[in-house]
């Protein structure tokens, strides 16, 4: 197994290129800025009732920002991972050594994930100081859990981007492809889900009611969006941790795939699936 060697080399390269430092700064600015924004300028509505900003409310406010920020950073970090090496020819050096193509793909995924994970961890650790000083009732545990789930979400977009990068031999196409997928997930997915429901229902929205098959399908499609999965997954954990019960889970009687925890399954799928598809193509193509 030489994926470790590939991952280590990739990580070293990222340090050398100052990518790690730049990312860490970005995450620091982001987490501190977003925490400030949520607590001081635009606090969640619940805070207006209770009069205090808790970590849970803070996280609820942060999630919608990280849901956009993390994918963009992850795509920027990973889109060149394989296509770039193929473009330049360094992939030939990599594959002249006894690395299998799977080693290369996994090594790249792990290496890039490591870069983002370190940057995100340090950046949000700085953010934690800001948050602790601003939130009225600060819980480090909830915050750390939030950082962990955000990291998982970063891995999702790194997996998607590495998968796309493995799929094409052109860096430009890898960038367009990954960013296109992000746009689909972020902005078009719910419209697509609605469209599919509309088509299946005989080109009409009439008669779709909660509980019937088309509505269920629509809900399943909705949660299959990795961004939605991230938001739901975060909410699920935060609610569990939130002993005050302000955001009590009211939908425990729903089907399993509509439960918030199902977001984690969806995220795991979005890590495995793009890597598997990218690998299949990468493994069968001529260099």
């Amino acid at each position: 197994m030489s994926w470790q060697a590939v991952a280590e080399k990739d990580f070293r390269d990222a340090i050398r290129s100052r990518l790690l430092i730049v990312l860490t700064l970005l995450f620091t600015l982001f987490s501190a800025g977003a925490a400030y924004l949520v607590t001081e300028i635009n606090p969640p509505q619940q805070a207006a009732f209770t009069g205090e900003v808790t970590t849970v409310l803070l996280i609820t406010g942060l999630v919608s920002a990280t849901a956009v920020f993390i994918p963009i950073v992850s795509i920027a970090v990973a889109y060149r991972s394989l296509a770039g090496e193929r473009d330049s020819g360094s992939l030939k050096l990599l594959l002249s050594l006894p690395n299998s193509r799977l080693d290369v793909l996994i090594g790249k995924f792990v290496g890039r994930s490591g870069v983002v994970a370190v940057a995100l961890f340090i950046g949000f650790a700085v953010g934690i100081v800001v948050t602790a000083s601003l939130a009225d009732a600060f819980s480090p545990l909830e915050y750390v859990v939030f950082v962990g789930i955000s990291m998982l979400f970063a891995f999702v977009f790194i997996a998607i981007t590495v998968g796309v990068s493995a799929f094409t031999s052109s860096t430009a196409r890898a960038a367009y492809g990954a960013f296109g997928l992000f746009v689909v997930f972020q902005f078009l997915w719910s419209s697509l889900a609605q469209g599919i429901a509309y088509v299946i229902n005989g080109f009409s929205f009439e008669g779709i009611e909660e509980g019937d098959a088309v509505f269920e399908l629509f809900q399943v499609l909705t949660i299959l969006d990795p961004t939605a999965a991230y938001e739901q997954g975060t909410l699920w954990v935060v609610r569990r941790l939130d002993e005050s019960g302000e955001l009590a889970n009211a939908n425990s009687e729903l089907a399993f795939y509509l439960q918030d925890w199902f977001g984690f399954i969806v995220m795991a799928l979005w890590i495995v699936l793009p890597l598997a598809i990218g690998y299949t193509r990468f493994n069968s193509s001529d260099l």
């Binding site: 080399k9 020819g89 050096l93 002249s96 260099l287």
Partner: protein, 302 residues
């Protein structure tokens, strides 16, 4: 045992048939020069050996293993200097070699290997600033990691100055002396002549000759050049000579005539000149230049 065995290998890129049923055997421990003009299929062949590209049909075995199914096992025992590669700009020469050591699971020390390829002084420098020749040396260093059983070198001397080419030859020879099989490609016969035990010539995706350099010379035949020094060259000398059987080209340079001819008509040519009233002061025979030999194989009729 054969280190490399290709059997009926076919590969097309779109309409272009890069390999047309290529058969090739390279024996264990030999230095094999793989020659052909650009575009003949040399790199395609090497890429097939390394599983960079997959043949449409035919079998490819390297070190007794299937090049596709056991590619990693093949590359564990093979050192490769690929063609058209790039280095990692931000990593140092030492880090490149260390990466090769890690990938191969070897326990070498990078420094002596860098010393061998003449990069000891540049060990701590980032490869992004390296010249083509230095990049070539670096890739060679990576290839030498782990004492491979087979070295596959694709156009290894490109970008090397004469000194570098000589050092490369010494490395190839010392590796071969330790029992390593060396397979390397070139489009210049002169580069392989000095080191190769055997040479294979590829043309339009097919092997057109496999032999020692001497064997190739014999096969082409009539490949020698007669060099005659005279006092003066009559105007019709070249024309008269060419009309004789077995004489090919005649070139005149001052008072020197260069005549390509079959071995047994050399004396006829000299007598013809003397018959024209020319005083022959000296004559000698040169072996056919290697380029001519190469051209005979690669440029003939379809």
């Amino acid at each position: 045992m054969a280190a490399i065995e290709l059997d009926g290998v076919e590969k097309s890129f779109g309409d272009v048939r890069a390999l047309r049923g290529l058969d090739l055997d390279v024996q264990d421990g030999e230095i094999f020069g793989f020659l052909g003009p650009n575009g003949a299929g040399k790199s395609t062949t090497i890429n097939v050996l390394l599983d960079f590209i997959r043949p449409d049909s035919g079998s490819v075995r390297v070190l007794g293993r299937d090049a596709r199914d056991d590619s990693v096992a093949v590359r564990e025992r093979t050192g490769v200097l690929p063609e058209g590669f790039d280095v990692y700009e931000r990593l140092t020469a030492r880090e490149h070699v260390q990466f090769a050591i890690d990938s191969k699971g070897a326990d070498d020390d990078p420094y002596p290997i860098l010393e061998r390829v003449g990069l000891a002084d540049a060990a701590g420098r980032k490869a992004g600033g390296f010249s083509t020749g230095m990049r070539q040396r670096l890739a060679l260093a990576m290839a030498l990691v782990g004492d491979p059983e087979l070295l596959v070198l694709d156009e290894p001397s490109s970008g090397l100055d004469p000194n570098g080419a000589r050092e490369l030859r010494e490395i190839v020879e010392s590796e071969a002396a330790n029992g390593t099989t060396v397979f390397f490609s070139s489009h210049i016969l002169g580069q392989v002549e000095a080191v190769c035990d055997r040479v294979g010539i590829i043309r339009e995706g097919e092997l057109v000759a496999v032999d020692t350099i001497d064997g190739l010379r014999e096969n082409v035949g009539g490949g020698s050049t007669l060099v005659v020094e005279v006092d003066s060259v009559p105007d019709d000398a070249a024309h008269r000579l060419k009309s004789l059987d077995g004489i090919g080209e005649v070139t005149v340079d001052g008072t020197t005539l260069r005549i390509t001819c079959e071995d047994d008509v050399k004396m006829d040519a000299v007598q013809e000149l003397e018959g024209l009233g020319v005083d022959v002061s000296d004559f000698s025979t040169e072996e056919a230049p290697l380029e001519d030999l190469f051209a005979a194989y690669t440029e003939g009729d379809e």
